[in-house]
């Protein structure tokens, strides 16, 4: 049972080695020559820096993230359903389709609510509507 994860561990080890090697090589081979302060300044198309880069972020990004988490968890519930439908139907339990449909309809209520609240509208005109 656990043997199936050995290839996964091997892939992790391989990918980790490559990742460290690439960044390590970059540090070793590209070691700095001159470092005048202008060179390491934050890049802003050649303009002098106006202000800090880390400022407040539009709340829309947070809304998208929250909506995503809600729906992604719902989708996770669908995986076991999807895998077993064929087997259950073959055993004559066609009601499993109805179960899935009810789940999707319940999900649909939340979706319609979010749509009407304007959670999916990015532009300002959309959210006012």
């Amino acid at each position: 049972m656990t043997a199936q994860y050995i290839p996964v561990l091997m892939a992790f080890a391989f990918a980790g080695t490559v990742a460290v090697a690439i960044v390590g090589l970059s540090v070793l081979l590209g070691r700095g020559r001159l470092r005048p302060p202008r060179k390491t300044e934050t890049y802003e198309s050649g303009m002098p820096l106006l202000d800090a880069s880390r400022k407040r972020v539009s709340v829309k990004y947070f809304v998208v993230a929250m909506v995503f988490i809600v729906f992604d968890i719902e989708v996770a519930f669908l995986y076991p359903w999807a895998v077993t439908v064929r087997e259950l139907v073959a055993e004559g339990a066609r009601a499993v389709l109805l179960d899935g449909l009810i789940f999707l309809v319940l999900l649909g209520f939340g979706y319609v609510y979010l749509w009407r609240e304007g959670a999916f509208d990015w532009s300002r005109e959309g959210s006012r509507r």
Binding site: F12, F120, W122, G126
Partner: protein, 343 residues
């Protein structure tokens, strides 16, 4: 035991080297393809037809000065490219690149040139680890302490999570039809029935659009959008740290193309594969897979140089209001189809 480990390691290295070799080839196809579409020559001086150009570029990148800007958060700044390349190189192990024949090496079955043939969670593993790639982008954008980077990273994370939903729901249709999370079972199902792209055309189209968005390719390249964000989340990266992002993008593109072929375009199957067995079947199936993946990859280039970029509100609207309902409709159709024995 040791023979099994050796064969697994050999398969892993073989496919990983194949993926990494695909990067310069893809760069060449992209640049020459762009030149062809725009009626110009493209790189043609280094080697025959400019074929050596990407390799020369890679060597150049290795010896470029590695600049760490003054304002960065050092730990995260170095971690981000590692996360990007790590995620790109662990996802491919559940994809069957060839037919599961009776061919054995050192007494170990090759099982479809799949690195992790026993892994029961199959495509779920690929989707789960693939979605970690957003961490590489967000960490890079935030740790760079740069306005372009931060904006690129924010846009990218919102875009990736929006399209991931549509993508997972469309993949669910395939899982439902095959009755398994394992990708070799999906291919086996398609070798008995039609390619999934035909009965599940809507799901296939949703998957294609989401695949373009997930790989940050035009028409969904807003995270990079040269004309407004210069280069987006990796603007403060130089040398091989930049190359790590670049490489991971191309590897992700190859992986998602292989996934698309496996889920919807019949995987390694080809006309008349049932008449063959042993080595001929294995070699021809790998060739068939390569041809299909190459075609999908060419489509990526083709679309990139044909379509303009979306506006951000259009992008979010397409993802949430169009693709997600369509993917759910596809799932309902496949459920009914399986329930009444049509699929």
């Amino acid at each position: 035991m040791w023979a099994e480990l050796a064969v697994t390691a050999a398969k892993l290295l073989l496919i990983a080297v194949g993926l990494l070799t695909a990067i310069p080839v893809m760069v060449w196809v992209e640049r020459r393809g762009a030149a062809f579409i725009q009626d110009r020559l493209g790189p043609n001086r280094v080697g025959p037809l400019g074929l050596v150009q990407p390799i020369v570029d890679a060597v150049k990148l290795f010896f470029k000065e590695d600049i760490t800007p003054a304002g960065v958060s050092r730990g995260l700044y170095f971690l981000a490219p590692m996360v990007a390349i790590f995620v790109a190189l662990v996802t491919f192990i559940v994809i069957p690149f060839g037919a599961g024949t009776d061919v054995t090496v050192f007494g170990v079955p090759l099982s479809g040139v799949m690195v992790a043939p026993g892994l029961g969670v199959g495509v779920l593993y690929l989707l789960a680890l693939g979605s970690l790639s957003v961490y590489g982008i967000v960490l890079a954008g935030w740790s760079s302490n740069n306005k372009y980077s931060l904006l690129g990273a924010l846009r990218s994370s919102a875009q990736l999570i929006s399209y991931e939903l549509a993508m997972t729901v469309s993949v669910m249709g395939v899982i439902l039809a095959a009755g398994s999370l394992r990708l070799d079972a999906v291919v086996a199902y398609q070798s008995q029935h039609l390619w999934n792209a035909i009965p599940q055309l809507v799901g296939f189209l949703v998957f294609v659009v989401a695949a373009f968005a997930e790989t940050n390719r035009l028409p969904f390249d807003l995270p990079e959008a040269e004309t407004e964000l210069v280069a987006g989340y990796h603007v403060e990266y130089s040398s091989m740290k930049f190359a790590a992002f670049f490489m991971s993008e191309y590897v992700n593109m190859v992986t998602i193309s292989a996934l698309m072929v496996t889920l919807y375009l019949g995987g390694w199957t080809f006309p008349g594969h049932r008449a063959l067995s042993g080595w001929p079947l294995l070699l021809l199936s790998v060739l068939s897979m390569l041809v299909k993946v190459s075609f999908v990859l060419f489509t990526f280039v083709w679309v990139r140089w044909s379509l303009p970029r979306f506006r951000y509100d259009q992008l979010m609207r397409l993802g949430w209001k169009v693709l997600l309902p369509l993917a759910v409709l596809n799932l309902v159709w496949v459920g009914v189809g399986v329930g009444y024995g049509w699929l």
